[in-house]
């Protein structure tokens, strides 16, 4: 039985085409992927991300616990600020990539991938069991009671100010949501309840994520769509979410990241704070940062007319098979095949020539700088 989010009937009403994604029944598109993608690049789109997980970590030792468990330095977070971070095994393989927000002096919110809720929570509990100050930390998995939407695109600040028209009540103190800066989070009142609004996203555009109690999300969704007409807001599915993030080279767990891949190999070493003291995976990640890795994630563009690259297609360089595509699609913004894949470091040179094997034929591609798509 596939899990459904509290917005399931809203998706049906909006004509969403539903597919299975990581154990969830989610909309892949409402109109077309290209249409929704371009709408987010030019105006505004709203995505159901209620399938994602939410974990609250509280207590006097919450900061120390998270800093020993996650790769980024959580001490950099003032109340009302979030950061991208990763959770690794001792061998450096990624358990999940996530956002950590500091909601209060001793309270953190982790936003984790839908497909990773169970392994993440089990891992956090296991680590907490081995943590010296475990009595000073509590973990709460709120994933089943919490829902969220991402509202993304250049026109979203005006929409958010109409959706939440009063000053924030917690987190970062702002008069209106559009005063939030990148990665800041604040609470706003909606129908008499508190919702979290963070200025972040997964599209490469300006945007917000709104996290609410499960029962409140449909009212937020409906009101956003009603107010959204003047901002050309469209409901957008996972299809556009994937093409948007691929164009800007944001990793997706299960594609760029998995338990056999480290943040250094995936090119997200910026979010690994080796200088903060010990944390799970530090030894391996420090060694890789110093001496290099066996594989490296590269972004590429098809250079000849070719079918779109897809995950698992073989990458060739210099006449040898050197790796595999992990994400690939036809870029709606560039109208060109694009993708990412792992290759040996000596191949991973900007401008380097690759070939992507598609149905037995090889098509020319070139390694490009990330992100593949940059706003004009």
């Amino acid at each position: 039985m596939l899990k459904r989010t509290p917005l399931f009937s809203a998706h049906q009403r909006a004509g969403g085409k539903l597919i299975e994604f990581g154990g969830w029944e989610m909309p892949v598109q409402y109109s077309t992927i290209t249409d929704e993608h371009l709408c987010v690049r030019r105006a505004a789109g709203i995505f159901d991300i209620s399938h994602m997980g939410e974990v609250i970590v509280r207590g006097p030792a919450a900061e120390a616990f998270l800093n020993a468990t996650l790769t980024n330095d959580v001490r950099k977070l003032v109340v009302g600020l979030g950061q991208y971070t990763l959770m690794c095994h001792e061998h450096g393989g990624v358990i999940d990539d996530l956002y950590a927000y500091r909601l209060g002096a001793e309270e953190y919110l982790l936003i984790i991938n839908a497909s990773r809720i169970e392994p993440d929570v089990a891992w956090l509990q296991e680590r907490l069991g081995a943590f010296p100050q475990q009595a000073d930390v509590t973990l709460a998995n709120l994933s089943d009671h919490t829902a969220a939407v991402a509202i993304q695109g250049p026109k979203t600040p005006g929409l958010l100010d109409q959706l939440f028209p009063a000053a924030s009540t917690g987190g970062t103190h702002v008069a209106k949501p559009s005063d939030l800066k990148k990665n800041q989070i604040a609470q706003f009142a909606f129908d008499g309840q508190a919702v979290c609004v963070a200025r972040t996203g997964y599209s490469g555009e300006d945007g917000f994520e709104v996290i609410t109690p499960a029962l409140l999300i449909e009212a937020v969704w409906d009101k956003a769509l009603n107010l959204g007409h003047q901002f050309c807001l469209q409901p957008c599915g996972l299809g556009a979410r994937d093409t948007l993030r691929t164009e800007v080279c944001y990793p997706l767990y299960g594609h760029e990241l998995d338990e056999n891949t480290t943040p250094i190999e995936a090119g997200v070493g910026f979010f690994v704070a080796l200088d903060k003291g010990d944390f799970v995976g530090r030894a391996v990640l420090a060694e890789q940062k110093a001496s290099g890795t066996k594989k490296k994630l590269v972004a590429f563009k098809m250079t000849d007319k070719a079918p779109p690259p897809r995950p698992h297609y073989v990458i060739w360089a210099g006449g040898s098979a050197v790796g595999e595509v992990v994400s690939g699609t036809q870029s709606p913004s560039l109208n060109n095949g694009i993708g990412m894949g792992y290759v040996p470091p000596q191949v991973a040179v900007i401008g380097g020539k690759l070939e992507i094997e598609i149905r037995g034929r090889r098509f020319a591609a070139e390694i490009v700088k990330k992100p593949i798509y940059k706003k004009p």
Partner: protein, 128 residues
């Protein structure tokens, strides 16, 4: 939303249409199929001269999301392919029964085409 199922065509369960004129048949994919695929971004057609059997995968249509095989609805030899649709794959979405055709087959067994779905049967299959 109504899906077009022209009355003068034959249909395969796998969502191809066949327009028969003598012993030559033009093949494309249905309006329902293009709507399900959405945003066709690449079309790969068989080589002219290739002999295909009914039900054989002989072309590929790719949307942003996925690649799908297209099957020969009847047996025969490919005698012409639509260059326009490889140059502008969006024709499959815009004119699935017109400029978005895929290839022409010289039929080797006229009875096969007769056994394909009628417009009514195809409409029933897609729940129209």
């Amino acid at each position: 939303m109504s899906t077009q199922v022209p009355a003068d065509l034959k249909y395969a369960k796998s969502h191809e249409w066949l327009r028969v004129a003598g012993d030559v048949a033009t093949v494309g994919i249905t309006d329902h199929a293009q709507h399900e695929l959405t945003d066709v971004v690449f079309v790969e057609l068989p080589a002219v001269g290739r002999k295909v059997k009914a039900g054989e995968a002989c072309a590929v249509v790719e949307s942003v999301k996925t690649a799908s095989d297209i099957y020969a609805p009847a047996s025969g030899e490919v005698i012409e392919v639509n260059k326009a649709v490889t140059d502008d794959p969006g024709l499959v979405n815009g004119e699935p029964y017109g400029k978005g055709w895929f290839f022409k087959l010289k039929l080797s067994d006229a009875a096969e085409a007769g056994a394909l779905l009628t417009p009514e049967a195809y409409t029933a299959q897609i729940g129209g």
